[in-house]
Symmetry: C2
Subunit: 432 residues, 2 copies
């Protein structure tokens, strides 16, 4: 006779109903593998009358989420409600009540992870969050368990399918940002309000969680450099292509020699030969380099009902096994290492700089002079054939320099009379 574990499901939207559907469909297999029996006892929704995409017995539904916490037969609460303040308060109460918690809420963990895991440690309950980063890609488990013997040297991730779809279409079809975004919206790959996806913050939440896990301290979101893809044009992608690069929205997580951590999400030039450059459409991927394992890469769907459900089911089985054979929980707080973030201004890389300049002799000399005065070296220059208008795009690839210094130099350039449009400055990753 297998032990029965009671589940409370908070939220029955895309992911919540997906978890229920797949738990029912693959229930026999999951119980066989887990050695315990899972039973959904209550499902909390906002409105009982709202139509549901997946069928479930009517008597399971409640509108007051705390009924899940109050039910002594529920040992595991799965939070899939969305938002921040309400689920935070709910998860706090669930932990206080001694329930194991599973969540896919990346914004919540990125902003309140420290508090949640400290409370969980105090109350000796486990909090699981595989689904919060990169959906179906098991990257939390890989970084925490598989690479436990490694110092993580760096992580480069494509964590936002919407942005990656848009950049892929800009690359393959030569579209500009706006039509590519419209196409993504038509196909259901982008929300009506695409802000969080294209402004880099969705990817940044995931990067914060992963960096925190890899380096053992909670990364402060205020110390993370976040840029979206809104200012990338089809011609930037063409220029990058000529130079042997693709532009991707890359989350970069890196430890420097003194152990200072850099977390950055920005449209970034990466060499076409790197595997990340071939990750197209709505797919996500994460490249992890460890000091023992070397280069690795994980690829899959980062969002969507089913891939995210798969990650929640993994957490569910782990929570169930832990409950059926009690052991010291090893949630996030298990490795209380301490670290600090590197100031954004100190982050060193090569850069791509596009300037709209007057099309007349002497302009390049003036710009090269200003960069030289700022002690920034030029690796290469693309000065396209003269256009009919009075502007041309001048593209420069610049030597390794701290971001702060580059920003100052870019402002100096922007103030030159020969520079006619807002400069675009992009990071480059050469993976050396």
């Amino acid at each position: 006779m297998k032990k029965e574990i009671g589940i409370g499901l908070a939220g029955f939207g895309t992911v919540g109903s997906g978890v229920y559907k797949n738990l029912v469909r693959n229930g026999a297999l999951i119980e066989e593998r887990a050695g315990v029996c899972f039973r959904v006892r209550r499902i909390a929704v906002k409105d009982l009358a709202e139509p549901r995409a997946v069928e479930a017995p009517e008597e399971l539904f409640v509108t007051r989420p705390d009924e899940l916490i109050e039910d002594p037969g529920i040992q595991i609460v799965i939070e899939l409600m969305g938002g921040i303040d309400f689920p935070l308060a709910f998860i706090r109460r669930a932990i206080q009540a001694g329930k194991s918690v599973i969540t896919a809420n990346k914004a919540l963990l990125a902003e309140h992870g420290r508090e949640i895991f400290e409370l969980a440690k105090e109350k000796k309950v486990a909090v699981f969050f595989e689904a919060a980063v990169a959906g179906g890609i098991p990257i939390i488990k890989a970084v925490r368990e598989s690479f436990v013997g490694n110092h993580i040297e760096c992580i480069h991730g494509i964590f936002n399918g919407t942005s990656n779809y848009i950049l892929t279409r800009m690359t393959d079809a030569g579209l500009d940002f706006s039509p590519a975004l419209e196409e993504a919206q038509k196909l259901g790959y982008a929300e009506a309000d695409p802000a969080l996806d294209v402004n880099g913050w969705d990817a940044a939440h995931k990067a914060i969680i992963l960096a925190s896990l890899a380096y053992g301290f909670w990364v402060d979101p205020a110390k993370v450099h976040v840029e979206g893809i809104e200012n990338v044009t089809a011609s930037d992608i063409r220029f990058a292509d000529e130079l042997g690069y693709r532009i991707k929205l890359i989350a970069t997580i890196k430890a420097d020699d003194e152990g200072k951590i850099e977390v950055r999400v920005a449209p970034t030039l990466i060499p076409k030969s790197h595997v990340l450059a071939s990750v197209n459409g709505v797919f996500n991927a994460v490249a992890v380099r460890g000091d023992v394992v070397g280069e690795t890469l994980f690829y899959g769907r980062g969002a969507g009902q089913d891939p995210t459900s798969s990650a929640v089911l993994c957490d569910l089985v782990e929570a169930g096994i832990a409950l059926s054979s009690p052991k010291e929980s090893h949630g996030f707080a298990a490795h209380d290492l301490y670290g600090d973030c590197k100031p954004v201004a100190d982050s060193v890389s090569k850069f791509y700089l596009r300037l709209g300049v007057e099309d007349r002799p002497g302009v390049l000399a003036q710009i090269a002079g200003a960069l030289g005065a700022a002690d920034i070296g030029i690796l290469s220059v693309i000065q396209p054939e003269s256009h009919t208008g009075e502007f041309i795009s001048l593209v420069l690839i610049l030597h390794d320099a701290p971001y702060g210094k580059m920003l100052t130099a870019t402002k100096t350039l922007a103030a030159l009379p020969c520079v006619k449009s807002e400069p675009l400055l992009l990071h480059m990753e050469t993976f050396l």
Copy 2:
């Protein structure tokens, strides 16, 4: 005060000395994360006088491996000796003595896994084997834990770096098999006796372990179809290229609608657009499709001292955590599902067939006629320009057909007077 766990290391070759080196180097981090303290108490080697690539205190070394088993201070035995009969007997005795066992021995597990895991279940000890498949790629953990909520639909793996290096060089530099193999040997990517690597059996051992794990029953090596890359020529790679394919040594693991499992290792044509086609050089990769998670891919180094050590260290921490907070061990036997392999002859796919034929009119008609009589459809034909000699290569892409039927038809073709050389028949995977 952390609990101390005693380790016995059997074997101090490439992997054994790597595990020791990395455990010393990253020891503080590993103990912090694991919450237990690891101490290597004994290292078994064949010959105390043999020079060692990694330094370790002389007093740790013993020549009788059973000293590891007899030491009551050793709770975990790491078997990295190589061979089959001797380590099998050693692991049996270690399990009998109640030691947790870690091994990277793929041939041993592929041939004797059932026995080892049944004994481990009986004795309630855990056996770990992440390092046995694909080195640093954490594919065992992904299939067993991350995808626990999935029926695995199929797995396609590049599991042998030597073969992949050779095929990559044949593709990129147009080399034939023998010079590419020589190059791999010079670079240390292939052994002096490369048989196991290039004949497909190294990859087959890994496929057998992974298939057994994914489907919950031990796959009988006799039911696995194994072919090496020795008969692939530079012109096959060129023909495949013209048709939009790459030739890779692919391990294919698939469940059909009735749950029958097919395990096959063979040089296989895969579309250039598939991510596996971009896995080059000595790298390994595994694509896993689950019914919930969809398509995923894992990429990294499949062999070598450090990547393999990384996997052993992951197992070590897991074994240590399990020992420090006893719970029901969930080794392989945890999911006692039952299944069966599909007969090799029933395996259906498209095929690539190269025939050396006489260069005269009517030959194609004769061959097409024979295939038609065998009820095998032709998808496309490449008949290269006439050569000066009396042979030409005729390449046919054939419709989905069972392998058994294809083999019979190929034999019929080989017996035709117009067919002048041994036909080459390769599987194709279209991932549909």
